[in-house]
């Protein structure tokens, strides 16, 4: 087994949970195969390619005579000329293609263009960025007529820009097309609540719950509004329903405590606050409620004790020490907003298969907020999906610069580098990952695989695989250890590890095959 394939190479980047961790976007989830099944398929295909190459090598092994050497030289010269010509043509064609691609990715005429005069003050720049947001929303509405999502996106934008009245109009239009958008009902409720219309807020939130009974925070919001209306009994019922659904919700117990306080049911208020504190021990306001309940229950010592804790926790809250923000922060926030909107819009185009527009918008997001990693991650995902690996790697490298402590980024860089056969870059990336996540086995295992594949630092590969097994005794890790042991000539060790891998994953045919190969010395 001189050409051992890299088992599990694809397993981490295509792992759905990991993909979602990277940018929260579904496009990262490119396959529904499990990592182990893919390993098996990969091993098989690699083995077939190796066998073919061996056959070709056998055919070329015949020695050449002196007469034929001249012919060979002529042929070689001719071949070289042809190759150079072809290479020249290919280079010209490549340059032409790249130029064409760049032309395609340039913003189209109907896209919002930056103004010719650069803005002078932060206010001017913010106004310009907001205009671009509005123009973008208009463009989305124009490009995607009849799209409920476009209405909702536009509504969300108006809400953020402080035009709640317009937001409500767009949301209502969106709901006509997508009547099951619980999130929109939730937002309508928030606006109604802020306007002080508690009844209407309750009505919207109840609709949201009809669509999504598990929607987080909505029961509590309804309870708050009901309390504002003086309907404490109904608020209690709402919150009791909520804690049945989410027994770990400290917020709901806290609000329940408030409702019972107002009902002057101090004993039950106390119980609720105690439960809230159990669930969230650092929540100062629960201690405040608890101290109030204890005071009413004639437990002055406890009331005093809880007041002291409340005061201590309250003083420690940073929001009580710092307030307000500087103009430059505001500008950064608005830039971030434009980037977010561009990414959301990109998602709408991507869902409709418009890759070009998706890419444009993601680039626009990058331009708006160059220091945000999210647009780079989305672009990386898009480039991977469209098999533009160098571009994907470049985006990941940018993410790494911005967030050097993001471990998933290092893993993705390693994967992409391997696809580009850049073992040195992959190695560095794996090492970075290990440094950041020393307790996760994946980094050790994949680096071991890299050494095994490149036939370098084999004893190091064995150590890494052992570490991976030590951290997580999974089939994948035992498999890596087995291969490493075999590489360093430790057949017993290899057999033991492979046996363990097969035991842990008895359905994995590839493990079984490799195990048999080692066991029977084939």
């Amino acid at each position: 087994m001189s050409k051992t394939p890299i088992a599990g190479r694809e397993s981490f980047t295509d792992n759905p949970s990991l993909a979602i961790m990277m940018d929260g976007h579904d496009t990262f989830v490119s396959s529904d195969l499990s990592g182990t099944d893919r390993q098996g398929q990969y091993l098989m295909s690699k083995r077939k390619k190796i066998a073919k190459r061996k056959t070709r090598d056998v055919g070329r092994s015949r020695p050449a005579g002196p007469g034929s050497r001249r012919r060979i030289r002529w042929a070689a010269g001719l071949g070289a000329s042809v190759c150079l010509t072809v290479a020249g043509i290919l280079v010209v064609r490549y340059v032409w293609q790249v130029d064409r691609q760049q032309q395609q990715t340039r913003p189209s005429q109907n896209l919002p263009q930056p103004p010719t005069q650069p803005p002078v003050t932060p206010e001017e720049e913010i106004a310009m960025l907001k205009n671009r947001e509005l123009e973008l929303a208009q463009q989305v509405m124009k490009d995607l007529p009849g799209s409920g999502d476009a209405y909702i996106l536009t509504g969300d934008l108006h809400r953020r820009l402080g035009s709640s009245t317009k937001a409500v109009e767009f949301w209502q239009k969106g709901l006509q097309l997508h009547p099951n958008r619980a999130d929109v009902y939730r937002n309508l409720g928030i606006v109604a609540m802020e306007k002080g219309d508690f009844e209407e807020a309750v009505s919207f939130w109840q609709k949201a719950l009809e669509i999504n009974p598990q929607m987080p925070g909505v029961h509590a919001a309804i309870a708050r509004a009901l309390m504002g209306l003086g309907r404490q009994d109904e608020a209690i019922k709402e919150l009791e329903d909520d804690v049945r659904i989410s027994p770990q919700s400290a917020d709901s117990y806290f609000l329940l405590g408030q409702a019972f306080l107002q009902k002057q049911d101090y004993a039950r208020a106390k119980m609720c606050y105690e439960r809230a504190i159990e669930l969230r021990p650092d929540h100062p306001n629960s201690y405040y409620g608890l101290s109030t309940a204890c005071a009413r229950l004639k437990e002055p010592d406890k009331a005093r004790e809880y007041r002291a804790i409340f005061k201590k926790l309250r003083t420690a809250r940073p929001e009580d020490r710092e307030y307000g923000h500087a103009p430059s922060d505001d500008l950064a926030r608005v830039r971030g907003n434009l980037a977010d909107l561009s990414m959301r819009a990109a998602g709408l185009y991507q869902a409709r298969g418009n890759t070009r527009r998706t890419e444009e918008l993601l680039k626009q997001a990058v331009a708006a907020d160059p220091n945000s990693t999210a647009p780079h991650k989305r672009l990386a995902a898009l480039y991977r999906m469209t098999n533009r690996i160098p571009a994907a790697l470049a985006q990941c490298e940018r993410v790494r610069q911005l967030e050097p402590n993001d471990p998933t980024c290092h893993l993705l860089i390693a994967t992409l580098a391997l696809q580009l056969k850049r073992a040195d870059r992959a190695e560095a990336a794996f090492r970075n990952f290990i440094a950041l996540c020393p307790d996760q086995s994946v980094g050790y295992r994949e680096l071991a695989h890299l050494y095994i594949r490149t036939n370098t630092r084999l004893s190091e590969a064995e150590k890494l695989a052992k570490k991976a097994v030590e951290l997580e005794p999974t089939a994948d890790n035992y498999f890596a250890l087995g291969q490493a042991c075999q590489k360093v000539g430790d057949k017993q060790g290899a057999l033991a590890a492979m046996r363990k891998a097969v035991e842990l994953a008895p359905d994995n045919r590839e493990y079984k095959k490799v195990y048999d190969l080692i066991r029977y010395g084939r």
Partner: protein
Amino acid sequence: MADDPMTSRGDAKCETYLRWGVVLALILLLAFSHAVFGQIVFTDITRETQITFRHTDGGSGERYIMETVSAGLALFDYDRDGDIDVYFLNGALLKGARAERPPTNALYRNDGNWKFTDVTEQSGLGDVGYGLGVAIGDYDNDGDQDVYLNDYGPNTLYRNNGDGTFTDVTRAAGVDNGFQVGAGACFLDMDRDGDLDLYVSNYLKFSYDEHVSSMADGYRTYANPRNYLPLPDTLYRNNGDGTFTNVTEASGVGGHAGWGMGIVCADYDNDGDTDVFVGNDVAENFLFQNDGRGRFEEMGLAAGTAYKLSGSPSASMGVDCGDYNNDGLLDFFVTSYQQELAVLYKNLGGGVFEDVTMTAGAGAGTLPKVTWGNTLADFDNDGDRDIFIACGHLQDNVDHYDDVTSYHQRNILLMNTGDGKFIDVSDKSGAGMTVKLSSRGAGFDDLDNDGDIDVVVLNSRREPTILRNDSPSKGHWIQICLQGTKSNRGGVGARVNVVAGDLTLIDEVHSGRGYQSHYGMRLHFGLGDREKVDRIEVRWIGGGTDIFENISVDRVVVLTEGTSTVATQR
């Protein structure tokens, strides 16, 4: 069995009676509900009054924080003619601002019949400082009302000369309070020695060099007060000779720094001395409990007035007190910022309060607004106290970035339903409640001496709003002026208990209250259908208790300490 025709006829008759009974019951219910809830009507008569005052915040566009909190006003009888006069505070030109004439405070003499004359110049009260808060009290016990101004910059004490003019006696009195951003102020007799001491609320530490420029969504905004250091308030003890001594540290007040705003002094624990409630912006409120000798202990957290029910602080603005549920205990009502409810703290007795805002409906309508001047007063003379709230945002450009709210806002009127609850009647209370400006301080008193409470509102950067109470209520009333002899002359801090049949009402004389304002030294009690007052009990601060019996209603009476005779004010 066949139907008995007699029975059938009887059933039909019965049904007819039942129908008529239901109709009658409905009519009675409607009439009853009208009687119970009454109706409050306010008419905007600003133009008729010939008051031409226009507030300025002195801004130059730099958005200095004190612009947002200017200013309060005072309603008091400066010339002792029996009419309540109006004194408006004004801003002054801040750095970079220009004007042809510097803005001044303005005093309007009430000539009766809703006519007012500008007497600013002849009175000497045309102060040019940056006005924020005001308190009125007879600090020298000479029988007329003096004026203390809490400004941005040095404060000023004006002594009333008794002839309609005032003299600046700040330096002699020693009460200029340095160079602070001020807020509310109150006179109180903290040590029960018969003269009025002075509590001065300080907002925050500011200098032009420390000015913070802030933004919200690309719009320049006024900075949050938390960008500036909070300060302890200042307490002056009256030496009884026209001078004061700063006792901030010795009194225990100096150990508590906050972003002080509106304040009110009241005997919340009913132990015969005057305590102090300080509403703090963006932080916990202070409740200073007096030990009777002018030493204070801060009790806000233990008493339950520091925070809201949730345990979070309010951005407190105005503070007033009154017994909203007629249980003989003074409750506190505090206004606050947008997306917060104004808070009603119900006094449970024993020095403990409970936030009953939501169960009482006392925060109705306040959530999208910034709320300032406030009171608990009986506007419809039905024997319980209603709530008036002056509203207006402090960010003058908020309409551009948040249309849930607005810079100009309508004021709020909550009617007490008599069962400890309030309903929002702002939309049903006349054209006076439709005025939409950015209000700050508000004062409440009977400006036309017709037995109901009128309203004066100071609006930032605009003319004031004068609301005449035109409520159709026929409820009886009594108004009481106190005159101390051993205790302070104005009766500040005295507790008055009025018993009329089944109704028992309490109040105290406050000097400085609401949002950095002063009003209501002439105590007003609505009596509903009670045609006489059986008994009035006055507990004087530092003095004894006097009892007055069998008093006829619908008049202003003067009760003098140490006597039992009731005089009618002309």
